[in-house]
């Protein structure tokens, strides 16, 4: 987000209440090009064909943290397919997000084995500790809380994932400690410019 703000972009609420990006300065065009630079680098590695849409969106989300409207538009333009098609794919898959997300993404497993072994209590503990419900992001953009159907580590239920780390045999009491270990590890965000 720091990266975006440094370019004069900030989050605004649109009419539908959906957050989107809007440029708040006079140099729209130039800033937009700068903003899309990481995307153009990704696009240059793929032939401009529809079959690469999913991997392009996956990489774009990695670069931007989520899929802003401008990115989706640019992808549609470069692949020569309609915006609605790109939007359709981006909203179909659970992995894609159209709104900013936290620096760390917590996925609490609510699969069968975790359900039977108390995964619900773990989820409640995260909700209480972070003050958000699944699907939401903390105000400081530090954590996003999500549920996932199954991580595939059922033998260690209840299981959670923070970013790409899997934690097994989690109890409601251990939740705070897990969060703290990620709070401490704050790497500095580089503001590009």
């Amino acid at each position: 987000m720091i990266y975006l703000r440094s370019l004069g972009w900030r989050r605004v609420k649109t009419v539908e209440g959906v957050e989107s990006m809007a440029c708040m300065c006079g140099q729209d065009r130039e800033n937009l090009q700068k903003y899309l630079q990481p995307l153009h680098q990704i696009l240059s590695r793929y032939a401009g064909e529809e079959r690469y849409l999913v991997p392009i969106l996956q990489e774009a989300q990695e670069a931007y943290g989520y899929l802003p409207r401008e990115v989706l538009r640019e992808v549609a333009r470069k692949l020569n397919i309609s915006f609605s098609k790109v939007y359709g794919v981006a909203t179909f898959y659970a992995q894609f997000h159209l709104q900013p997300r936290g620096r760390h993404v917590i996925k609490v497993c609510t699969g069968t084995a975790c359900h039977v072994r108390g995964g619900g209590e773990v989820l409640k503990a995260f909700q209480k500790e972070l003050g958000i419900t699944p699907g939401q992001t903390t105000a400081d953009l530090e954590f996003t809380l999500e549920t996932v159907a199954c991580i595939g580590a059922c033998g260690l239920a209840p299981v959670i994932m923070v970013d790409e780390d899997t934690h097994g045999r989690v109890s409601p009491e251990s939740v705070k400690g897990i969060l703290d270990s990620y709070r401490k590890g704050t790497e500095t965000e580089v503001a590009a410019g």
Partner: protein, 623 residues
């Protein structure tokens, strides 16, 4: 790699090297996702640190999952010429002790040792061998043979264990038709769910005339409670690749995809590495073993849609579209990826192929039952003593799997049901535990093999709640294309929500059944077609539990909150500690300290938070 002789030569060299390598002690840490989640990374780092600080001349290696999730993290020690001893539940603090005692002095830390692979005659005393463990005795490991034994990131260990031998045999000694005939004779059936005969599928794709064909490995393992595909890809990726090469040769495909869930980062990483190594050795690429057959294989990452496990949806996803199924016919074998004939099999199916070719049709079909040959991998989870990944010959009874291998329900609890096949499967009640595990038997009781998730439930599990859990899952994952699935599952879920909150009505159960049958019969794909199974099977075997919810407004397992009479405190038992006052979210509890408290029945919302906190069990509904 030009021909069979060269591979055999390489294998001999590698086996020799391995023998020499064993001149040094080896320490091997189980590094599957399960192991890492239990702390294997810390253990691995501790080993490395200890080895460095003591300047030891030992090999530190990693391996995949051996299936004993309950005992993770696992650490193996193998001294030159000695047995390979596995330590379980290893903590970082145990590492120096194991190294000092076992690696340096040769004396096994017995209280931590779980099992051993004896080295020929040589075995450690007082430690059972793997074959003697209840968990392994009834298992027959074909697909998982190497998992937890070899280093999945090293192709040489796979080759030394006989890897790529079947592939050479198929490509250089057999015609594609002979390979297909062999697979058909062996009776191999799809391990991903429905159990379609693999040989027949290959034959249909082979017979469709086309200059371009594709082969796809479905690794979009989405069933909650199933993790065999992940373990296979993490623990033995080359076996799956080898199976795919043989399949591609049989159907005449020159291009293949492995469609993996994005939630499995470690599996993707190991697959990428394995593909690269296979290319370098010439197992993939142009003119493999001089047979004139060329084959290229790449990974496609899924983007998180359960329905993409359905083959037509999966192909749409690879094409860059929304992953929605389409009607069949045309079947993928006629018109699949980009309109070309395509063959899709599951990870475990491909993992069985090299073993099938090695054993031959007769050898393979001697395992299992007549209609369901070979083995099946199950992910054993839930209320069971030994959770983990097990591979058993088909036809073994559920009782043998749950009690003999799984060790039964921990803490002396009573088994109530076994859920098989995830959201498409059903709940099998305790009285049917002697049912043999094969495709037809499971279907006859309203369950299905599915991908092989097996969740054990005891008396504390509410079957209505379980049915609702699965239906909520399929409802959420319904792609929305066809009406029966999109609308029907929603209506069923509403009824179940109603029943679970104590507002069930007379006639709800009949309505659920009617809806369920319609959805099953009219949905476009198998996601919808099997979505009602968890509800229908629990209605069949646990109808009394549904009726208790509706008629008595009571949840027999005490899971569904918000039902029945308000909570009340037994004044005789209450010690006036005040925990319930703090637990109550609506302030319905009051009372002076050290004097019996009371609950305002008008204000009580039936959440049960007070009863859960009470240290003397003085709070109950309607007491």
């Amino acid at each position: 790699m030009k021909n069979a002789a060269e591979l055999r030569e390489l294998r001999t060299v590698l086996q020799q090297q391995a023998q020499n390598g064993r001149a040094k002690p080896r320490i091997i840490v189980g590094m599957g996702t399960c192991g890492i989640a239990a702390g294997a990374k810390d253990v691995f780092n501790a080993v490395v640190q200890e080895v460095e600080s003591r300047r030891l001349d030992v090999v530190v290696a990693q391996t995949g999952c051996i299936g004993m999730c309950q005992r993770e993290p696992l650490l193996d020690v193998e001294l030159p010429g000695g047995p390979r001893v596995t330590y379980g539940n290893v903590a970082v603090k145990d590492v120096p002790r194991i190294i000092a005692s076992h690696v340096l002095n040769g004396s096994i830390v017995e209280e931590l040792a779980v099992a051993q692979f004896p080295a020929g005659e040589l075995r450690a005393e007082n430690v059972p061998s793997y074959d003697e463990l209840d968990f392994y005795r009834k298992q027959r490991r074909l697909a998982l043979a190497n998992c937890g034994r070899i280093d999945p990131e090293n192709i040489e260990e796979y080759i030394a264990a006989g890897g790529y031998e079947a592939c050479v045999k198929a490509l250089t000694e057999m015609t594609p038709e002979e390979v297909i005939a062999e697979v058909k004779r062996a009776g191999l059936r799809g391990r991903g769910g429905a159990g379609f005969p693999t040989g027949l599928k290959w034959e249909l794709t082979r017979q469709t005339p086309s200059t371009k064909k594709y082969i796809i490995c479905n690794a979009d393992e989405g069933d909650p409670g199933a993790f065999m595909d992940r373990s296979l890809l993490e623990g033995d990726p080359h076996r799956v690749i080898e199976g795919m090469i043989i399949g591609a040769y049989a159907i005449g495909a020159d291009e293949g995809y492995i469609y993996v869930r994005a939630e499995y980062p470690l599996a993707i990483k190991r697959l990428e590495l394995a593909l690269q190594q296979a290319r370098e050795r010439g197992f993939l690429g142009e003119d493999i073993f001089g047979s004139g057959f060329s084959f290229n294989l790449q990974i496609k990452k899924g983007a998180g849609a359960f329905v993409c496990g359905e083959e037509t949806a999966l192909m749409a996803s690879i094409e860059g579209k929304r992953g929605m199924p389409r009607p069949k016919p045309p079947f993928p074998s006629q018109s699949g990826l980009w309109g070309k004939p395509t063959n899709i099999n599951n990870v475990e199916t491909f993992a069985n192929v090299p073993e099938l070719i090695r054993l031959g049709a007769a050898g393979f079909s001697s395992i299992g039952t007549q209609g369901s040959t070979g083995t099946k991998v199950f992910a054993l989870t839930g209320k069971i003593a030994n959770t983990g990944l097990v591979e058993v010959p088909m036809g073994l009874s559920l009782r043998e799997v749950v009690y003999d291998i799984g060790g039964g329900v921990p803490g002396g609890g009573q088994l109530k049901a076994v859920q098989i096949g995830g959201p498409s499967g059903g709940c099998i009640p305790a009285e049917l535990l002697d049912l043999p595990i094969d495709y037809e038997s499971l279907r006859s009781v309203g369950a299905m093999m599915g991908s092989g998730g097996m969740v054990v439930m005891d008396q504390s599990t509410c079957m209505v709640d379980v049915a609702r859990f699965f239906l909520r899952f399929t409802q959420h994952e319904s792609c929305g294309k066809c009406t029966p699935c999109r609308e029907g599952t929603k209506r069923m879920l509403e009824i179940l929500d109603r029943i679970c909150s104590g507002e069930g009505r007379e006639g709800d159960l009949e309505l659920l059944e009617e809806l369920g049958h319609h959805i099953r019969d009219t949905s476009l794909c198998q996601l919808g077609g099997s979505a009602p199974n968890p509800v229908l099977s629990t209605l069949q075997y646990f109808r009394a539990e549904y009726e208790a919810h509706i008629k008595d407004k009571r949840c027999p397992a005490n899971v569904c909150a918000g039902m029945g009479a308000p909570f009340a405190i037994d004044g005789q038992l209450c010690i006036g500690c005040g925990l319930c006052i703090r637990a109550c979210p609506v302030g319905a509890v009051s009372g002076e300290r050290r004097k019996p408290h009371s609950i305002d029945p008008e204000a009580c919302i039936l959440c049960g938070a007070c009863a859960a906190k009470c240290p003397v069990h003085a709070i109950a509904q309607g007491a």
